[in-house]
Symmetry: D2
Subunit: 325 residues, 4 copies
């Protein structure tokens, strides 16, 4: 048996940190060396993540150790950059950052980051030393459009997406209050969501002449996990051609599946999968995609990137039991 990958987690008290712990605890080829949390140092993990009771007696640590192979940063946006500035991390340690701090080519000292969307650039990820893990909406939107961009077929896109309350993080807010959110829907960041930057960068890398906008309307939904996205654009491909294009594009990718019937969010909840369903009406191609925002949209994709970087099976630790109902 080979030696296990040694992993550290910074920011283990939040939603994505919790998912990282859950995934790594069951990963066959990796182990958690420490989970850093300033506010929770000394407390058992299950004092914060109640579901871990009985799974581990591990405690949060106030210290960073250097005897690790990979460091996962599960910090808020803006916090990862600061963390790397303020803490000495041995150069040999690979960093996988879940914030948006390094997704657009930003550096931290010597560290340069590869954008960790395996369905776009798996080979680069395999060679990477540091990964900027994609945003949750960004992952779902891109996986709906990558094959078209790869074929140079993108035109102006109209996209609506809906996200669960975990997408807003753990901080108490009026819009994540149960009395408000239950049975409710509204919109936010209309046509100006921050993930549009990384989406546009990827799409233009694949299709340099794509200059039209992705008109993205994000909605808040009254569920906890998951994202559903529908994108509409004019397209000359027939439905058969479009399906063939998408199936061929995703054939080598173990987590992205083209469905031949309508998809739904719960189909992928608690898994690292993205499902895609195509429809064609008149000249419009409509692409539906769904993911779990905390798994494929965050911690699961981070594990997938670790697997690729460290030469493991891409699916190691990610064969997850879904919770379709």
């Amino acid at each position: 048996m080979t030696k296990k990958i040694r992993a550290g987690i910074v920011g283990g008290g939040g939603y994505t940190g919790g998912e990282m712990i859950r995934l790594l605890l069951n990963h066959p080829d990796a182990e958690i060396v420490f989970i850093h949390s300033r506010s929770n140092a000394g407390n058992p993990l299950h004092a914060v993540h109640a579901d871990l009771l009985g799974d581990t007696d591990m405690k949060f640590s106030g210290k960073l150790q250097q005897d690790i192979d990979v460091l996962f940063l599960c910090l808020g946006h803006g916090e990862s950059g600061k963390f790397l500035e303020q803490n000495e991390i041995a150069p040999s340690i690979r960093v996988i950052d879940l914030s948006q701090d390094f997704r657009l080519g930003e550096q931290s000292g010597e560290r340069t980051f590869v954008y960790g969307l395996p369905e776009w650039q798996r080979d680069k990820i395999k060679q990477a030393k540091n990964i900027a893990n994609p945003g949750c909406f960004a992952t779902t939107i891109q996986l709906g459009l990558l094959p078209l961009a790869g074929a140079g077929l993108l035109k102006e896109v109209h996209t609506t997406g809906i996200t669960g309350s975990t997408g807003a993080g753990q901080k108490l807010q009026a819009t994540t209050q149960h009395s408000w959110r239950n049975n409710n829907v509204n919109a936010y960041k209309t046509l100006s969501h921050q993930h549009l930057k990384e989406v546009g960068r990827t799409l233009r890398a694949l299709q340099p002449d794509f200059s039209a906008p992705v008109n993205f309307i994000p909605w808040r939904g009254d569920f906890t996990r998951g994202i559903f996205v529908t994108s509409t654009l004019s397209c000359a491909l027939s439905l058969e051609e479009a399906n063939a294009l998408y199936r061929e594009y995703y054939a080598p990718h173990p987590f992205t599946h083209v469905s031949d019937r309508m998809i739904d969010v719960k189909q992928v909840v608690n898994t690292n999968k993205v499902v895609v369903f195509l429809e064609k009406v008149d000249d419009k191609l409509v692409i539906h995609t769904a993911e779990d925002n905390l798994v494929k949209g965050a911690s699961g994709q981070a594990i997938q990137n670790m697997n690729l970087m460290m030469g493991l099976d891409e699916t190691a630790g990610l064969k997850l039991k879904g919770v379709v109902f």
Copy 2:
């Protein structure tokens, strides 16, 4: 005190029938004469609509009476036409039909129907003998676009809407099963929802040169009541101009309100209101609208139409306590 309007209800066992009963029971100027239901004849209303326990001892009736002023048809699509063919209704009785059977100019014998969207044609409704009550999605979409169409400013529109489970009616179905629908979202009838016909008819009546599609993506949401719709189109108006246009258009209408901040579905649940919120980003105008699908989207609007037809205050019986949480 003037004589009360005498109303009959056909199809009182379903969702819209139940709402019609609830609204008419508290209407100051109308009274229910009978509630027809073949399957429930003889049973007290509260045997079907449990919330009516203590409110009334009335029973469902198997007989149609002719001593009424208004007859509400709360039947499934296709059923209203059949009902009027198979039953003799005195010509003096006004019919308000909640199905889609008469929304596009269809007649039943001598009866012709006015499309009952007061924000479009209140004066015609006041003169009408029969009303085809608009669809729930159709109401929300139209109220987001009427002022633009009225000003001749409509261009190709991209619209996404999400509806609660009551929108699917009372029949048991896989997609209204709680274990499936709870915490879930998906799409259906992509770009082909039946309400697009009445929407297109209205918009072209206001703006005859409007020939582009309303690209409408309907979604199923995991709440019970309400509809949220976002429409996006290119528009040369500034945000101030657009708000002025909408506020002027809706000034004479008591149930449609332009908000100066983001709206949400629960803001209008259990009321006859529609709220509208406008945003402008680059050249795109974005219009958000929300309604309660069973009130303004069905039975409440039917009452509003009755009020107009019968010369009552448009808001009579429709000053409803919302349930914002």
Copy 3:
């Protein structure tokens, strides 16, 4: 037409304050003179209670006026007592307090308070100058047990109750966070809920020899509104006798109804009703009750008390459209 009752509201920004506004806006015999809120003074009501957009242009006020008949205190527990100490309220003004500050016989200066449970002591309420409005759980539990206590038949009771998230108030808390509460249940204040004091006081007033505990297990449910309570005790009455006892007890009360089939929470949501259903298995009598915690459990009952005190019809302003789905 008689002069309308003039009402003031203190604490109008919270959940019960919002319901008080909604109910009084539609009350045929009362009008709101001012809504006091220190933090919201000067803002329109709909800036806080978004659903009121279009219903009123009224603003929150920072000043207390004395030209009113009734003052509703919608403040947190402990705050009502302080408020009455720190503010001069003309002695002629009747006070209806929704907190628990005066439910057990506490006084504020000259003001003594009558416990406002009409099904127990409607006549005292009619003569009262000040009302301590009952707690939400306390109302549901008492209405399940009053007829037994009245007949001297109470023995040790085992009671479980479940409450929606609005019961916890508007303050952001971990247990009202949507990501936690959605699809979740747990218990709190086991056998020690503060409402047990007022419950015990009432029951012993009716049945002085009742010395056994009401063993009350409160649970948090993942809905927003409503309370469901089941109480179990040994009882020699047959089911028929028990139903007769309850029906006779509640016959003069317009909001409490004995059902002959199983009840559920949504049957009474957004109404001032309580429904009761009895079962008998072996020697155990089981009593199920349901209410809306914000209406009959708070602001609706406060209106009911105002109606009684001011000589209005007990149901004035409380004929509400439910939202059973």
Copy 4:
């Protein structure tokens, strides 16, 4: 590497059948040989269980194969007995039945069944040829009371339990309709739930003099998965003694954990765990327990039983990632 256990599943189209498939697909020491379903024969699994898209291309089969070690019966109550009568199953094949057909000592031909509650009789299960898997409520209630019964301390118990909509199975019913169930609660089978038989049998086996009832009030909750149960009884033990008793009892059991703080349902959703929390108020001991009704309450416990019978690690295939939010 040892040979994998070969498993067949009958009734693979339902909720527990689906969970059995999900669990066995990821089990390190077992493989699925066939999944029998008359109505779905020939269809891919993901046509029924949409979340399996991309996980397997296996199809439902109309034929029973005999080349298996274990057969899981995921059939409705009453159907398992019939199935074993009408189909020849090789005597060497072990049967694990998830229905209630064999929980009280019933036989099928030569087959006798051991009640598969490992926390009660793990050693008998290890020797068993056939297992009657416990009911979901029965598991949760028993795991709250076993240590007390083992110590001879049981007295009359008052128990309330709430179950999600998956507990009612896949059949469309009025009480599992989303429009009704969302944000709702009610009671059913008051003091007469069928699981009381197996609960009573177990408790009396451990404490033969226990003759008082378990007064069980089952409620329907508006979530999809999970059960929460609170039991109350008089008990002379101090809280410390009670906790010591429970911790000692469950020390050898990998899935049952005593918590030192309040528990909740989502803490165990999608896991095979049961969590227990004890409180003491005056002379009353209160025991809260939570489980996932489809995992520990059904298919997960069935796997646990298979593991024990077949000599595998009890936790094999059951180290599951929870979905706490």
